[in-house]
Symmetry: C2
Subunit: 228 residues, 2 copies
């Protein structure tokens, strides 16, 4: 039911395919089976468990920063190579650590009770979704951050800050009653180079579509008439 195999996306570091990857792109919500630990050799499964346990202990005792691949390997009394074979890279390991809560969360909005789950009107579900995400990030922040290289610095870039302030300033002139500071973050997110790269280079969307989406969002947010 749930999509849980994502921590297994070990690309091609070792020529040993396992823990099947079910094409992240074309995923259909709900049609995903929970192929969690698929027929791992006995020792491999045991080591995997020990590694996760060791990593969790490290996080708890010394924070997410202390989770170096060597430290985890040592704490699990296992070779370094084993960690990489199993989880691909550091991100994979941290992601696997987050897997449990991730599954619970997916269950909540896919099959759980309203307003998060099916049954409530869509707008209501959207509101609940955001609240739930915020709550989840509030715990786990360390781990979620650690699982994303360079994350803490992304919003301290002064150049970006200037651009965002400019957007906020413009917004204030149009929708003075809104929380323009946060609104500007939302809008700027759409112009993030990483997102642009993903959409144009990896998904093949034409730039014109991104432009259209930007204009559309601006109109929706400001309440302006489209193409005014």
């Amino acid at each position: 039911m749930l999509y849980a195999g994502f921590m297994a996306a070990v690309p091609p570091p070792f020529p040993t395919p396992q823990e099947p990857v079910d094409h992240p792109e074309l995923i259909q919500l709900g049609s995903v089976l929970e192929a969690d630990e698929p027929c791992l050799r006995a020792d491999a499964a045991r080591n995997r468990a020990r590694l996760l346990e060791a990593a969790a202990r490290l996080v708890a005792e010394r924070g997410a920063d202390a989770v170096t691949m060597e430290a985890v390997a040592a704490a699990a009394s296992v070779g370094k190579g084993t960690v990489f074979r199993r989880f691909g890279d550091r991100t994979g390991l941290l992601t696997a650590l987050l897997d449990h809560s991730e599954k619970k969360f997916q269950a909540a909005f896919l099959t759980g009770p309203p307003p998060l789950g099916p049954g409530a009107p869509p707008v209501e579900r959207l509101r609940a979704f955001g609240r739930a995400m915020l709550a989840r990030s509030n715990d786990e922040l360390d781990l979620q951050l650690a699982a994303e290289p360079g994350a803490p610095r992304r919003f301290t870039n002064p150049a970006r800050s200037v651009l965002r302030h400019h957007v906020a300033m413009l917004l204030r002139q149009v929708v003075p009653d809104a929380d323009c500071e946060l609104l500007s973050h939302t809008l700027m997110g759409q112009l993030d180079p990483a997102l642009i790269h993903h959409l144009t280079k990896q998904c093949g969307l034409p730039l014109s579509r991104l432009e259209g989406a930007w204009t559309d969002v601006v109109d929706r947010v400001t309440g302006a008439s489209p193409a005014g």
Copy 2:
């Protein structure tokens, strides 16, 4: 006039403060002076120029990936330590490389002609801003991406993908005529752990404000009545 000193934010790697940092946080648009290369010793200034030139050449000839700190140092016939003292870290170096176009861009929307610059109505300027950002990112993508560690992977995380698809699905039920795929990216950007961390931990905003902003954006985007 322009904010250009950002590449100088060399934190505390070496105990030699220079290239003054003008507090990135409390910056007032327009009140920033272009303190570019502030009283650097002659040899230091020369090395700085040589490093930037060498880095630019490496980018042009072998792509942004080839810009390793050692390679730049070697290409500039300079010690590795010098690169780090001048630019702080790799991100700082890449950022400095982007500085020129950044300044031009800032000039365009701060003091340039409408619709990007002052004179046009705010909504018009917002639309133009997005178009300009997209165009700029379209060139320079390599560099902008390289300046942000781990950027390419951010949107290939399957777990995130599931969440985003869920949001897109809900959006489709409410605003079927919109580009819900891209709209979902926009909304998800507001729930990015890195952003949440920045706003709550670094800026000190209460979680309730983030929740409010989320609800507000959902309402604006879907056209729902607030608190419906």
